[in-house]
Symmetry: C2
Subunit: 162 residues, 2 copies
């Protein structure tokens, strides 16, 4: 029981991700509210809908693997969201607040990119192709969200400079 | 004083990164010791040397910006390293332990990729080109390390399958 197999590792990673995604659904509305760029606010709102779909995919993955979709507190995501929250409590120029929010969101995205990437590789190794496909679909969405945030950060910079 | 400027944001991000990098230098030797793949162990050792160079670049950036190189505890990195440490305390097949270590290391890399990316964009916006170049150099190294870890994870998978 004490020795962990790759399947255990995958299940644990999925539990960690389920906790991470749930934490994100709670944080996103606060981030949307604090954003002043209309595009950034819309982006956070869109990502909330996307996150709900990602949770549904995780639940499907648990079902395929024959495990209950039970979350395991993701301490790293707690830290990431804690850092983001600190920004919300501070007084900042709207453009600086937007820059801070984008940065916090990209840290969250990158945590997920790394986690979904590992989980996808492990699912492949275990011959769980359907699970690997579900994880890849979310991974693609997270990478796309990260790219959009980078573009938005640059656009805000250029706007300020103009 | 309470209103944060983009420069304050940059300085804070650099302080956060300084703390993160210092935490990483403490974690890497433990990860190298726990790795069974010779390539992975060598990779962690190489990354330790690289991390020391990255700390030196951060110190240079602080100097250019006229600020003391003071770290500010990076709570997110604490969480990431805590998650990695949990693996080290468990009993696992060597190949599973290597998979877990790679996953933990990629989460750390991705935190840094997001943070250095934001800091670099802000330095550019502030016209601090020399600082932006230092941060870009580290960003390139982190992205390269992440790519190497992904390749290694796939190679280990194929090795197991063979």
């Amino acid at each position: 029981m004490a020795v962990r197999s790759l399947e255990n590792l995958l299940i644990d990673e999925l539990r960690d991700l389920l906790s991470a995604e749930r934490q994100i659904t709670k944080a996103l509305p606060k981030m949307a509210k604090a954003a002043s760029s209309e595009e950034l606010r819309a982006g956070f709102e869109e990502h909330l809908t996307q996150t709900q779909g990602q949770i549904a995919r995780l639940e499907q993955a648990f079902e395929i693997l024959g495990h209950t979709a039970r979350a395991k507190k993701c301490v790293a995501m707690e830290g990431l969201i804690e850092e983001g929250k600190e920004f919300l409590e501070e007084e900042m120029e709207p453009s600086v607040m937007d820059a801070a929010l984008i940065s916090a969101a990209q840290k969250v995205e990158h945590y997920e990119i790394a986690s979904y990437g590992s989980a996808r590789t492990w699912a492949q190794e275990l011959g769980q192709d359907q699970v690997a496909e579900l994880l890849q679909a979310t991974l693609d969405e997270e990478a796309e969200t990260d790219r959009k945030l980078s573009k938005l950060a640059e656009a805000l910079v250029n706007q300020q400079a103009a």
